[in-house]
């Protein structure tokens, strides 16, 4: 959007896993010229208080995000597929472990 030459390095998105067994969660971004430094910068910025045990860094430009204008098309068709949820089914009275 502007012609300013960027001297602040490319943007990377950062995902941190807080403890074993749970998914990595997006926490924010950092700037870095390469993946090693992206990792170090993410560590220094997002785990200063032992917030994580694992970090992913991804070049921001590699992320493909859905367009909000497509939300109807993308997400609403699944609203009426109630049969995908276990509560949809009526089980015989007294049946267990199912």
């Amino acid at each position: 959007m502007s012609n300013v030459k960027d001297s602040q390095w490319p943007l990377w998105e950062v995902f941190v896993q807080a403890s074993p067994g749970i998914p990595h969660k997006h926490v924010g971004s950092v700037h870095a010229p390469d993946k090693q430094m992206a990792m170090q910068n993410a560590r220094d910025l997002y785990t200063r208080r032992s917030e994580g045990i694992s970090i992913w860094v991804v070049p921001a430009e590699a992320i493909v995000a859905s367009n909000p204008d497509d939300s109807d098309m993308l997400f609403e068709p699944s609203n009426d597929k109630v049969y995908r949820h276990p509560t949809f089914y009526v089980m015989p009275e007294g049946s267990k472990n199912i």
Binding site: S2, D6, S7, Q8, G28, P33, D34, M37, R49
Partner: protein, 313 residues
């Protein structure tokens, strides 16, 4: 009209207290207001490192040094969270920094006051961070998703900052006569500039209307300032320091403190560049930015070579 329909949907979302996310449609004014507010907030964190940074090498104990260093480092981190969330609005950090350098973007006027003694370091933590926290807690509920998430993270981390400052002030107030004098002198000089941090009175604030309507801000300048005064006066009393406002008085009817008049002429002067340290703060920032250019370029050049090798190899 597509735009009107979009605006309607946007305002419906705001009214339902739903968050606006980067790819959602938003009015240009909303985007502009956010960029102005978030970048001012980010620049304040970064410029705000300088006044306290003066005292890292002169901290009076190893414990105090570690705490101060960690606190200033947090501020760098908070600046980054905020730049990060501002960048989701389609503006680069380079542009934001350029706006700071050209004076188009502002930062909090409080950082244009000198930090002369160790007590000033305490007063900054206690008063300035205390004021910032009042504002930031309120902003956790801002309507823009990335800004709100940055605020939640910042509030979690900032809670120790104010305690650090209050602890320093408490120790000084209980210390030798010289130390107590140092503490009172700090609050005398920094009290009024701290009250100015919340910005002009609501009636005189150019940006409050839309910012409140779109829930960028959730409470007005005067509401936040009042909350800060009400909690801080009591804290000062506990450690035996006096707030330098002869007109300060508890108003039992309104259940809040009445306070004296803020010198808005001084505020305007400092906002517009004529504060004690405006030039120094900006010169320092520019110097670091310019002296770091060759380092940033070297890292970029090296990264480009590595990518080339990967492709070729």
């Amino acid at each position: 009209m597509e735009n009107e329909k979009q605006l309607e949907q946007f305002e419906a979302k705001i009214n339902a207290d739903s968050k606006i996310e980067p790819k959602d449609w938003m009015p240009e004014d909303y985007r502009k207001h956010l960029i102005r507010q978030i970048s001012q907030h980010a620049h304040s964190e970064i410029i705000g490192m300088q006044p306290e940074g003066n005292w890292i090498t002169r901290s009076p104990s190893l414990r105090a040094k570690l705490i101060l260093l960690a606190k200033i480092q947090d501020e760098a981190g908070h600046g980054l969270y905020l730049y990060s969330s501002c960048e989701t609005l389609g503006i680069s950090r380079e542009e934001l920094i350029e706006q700071l350098h050209t004076g188009k973007a502002k930062y909090s006027t409080i950082f244009n006051y000198p930090v002369l003694t160790w007590a000033d370091v305490g007063a900054i933590g206690w008063l300035v961070d205390g004021a910032a926290i009042v504002n930031q807690i309120s902003l956790q509920r801002t309507s823009y998703g990335p800004y709100s998430r940055a605020m939640v993270r910042i509030c979690k981390e900032e809670s120790f900052h104010q305690r650090q400052g209050y602890e320093i002030m408490g120790k000084l107030a209980k210390g030798t006569a010289e130390q107590k004098e140092m503490a009172q002198d700090a609050i005398n000089r920094l009290w009024w500039p701290t009250l100015m941090m919340f910005g002009p009175h609501d009636a005189d604030s150019a940006h409050t209307g839309k910012a409140m309507k779109w829930k960028i801000k959730r409470e007005t300048n005067d509401e936040l300032r009042q909350r800060f005064i009400d909690k801080t006066v009591q804290q000062a009393e506990i450690i035996g320091l006096t707030v330098p406002d002869p007109e300060l008085k508890w108003n039992a009817e309104k259940n809040k403190y009445d306070h004296g008049k803020i010198d808005w002429e001084e505020f305007k002067r400092v906002v517009n560049g004529d504060g004690p340290c405006n030039k120094k703060r900006m010169d320092n920032h520019l110097k670091a930015h310019n002296e770091g250019a060759w380092v940033r370029e070297a890292a970029t050049a090296y990264a480009a070579k590595q990518v080339k090798e990967e492709v070729v190899g």
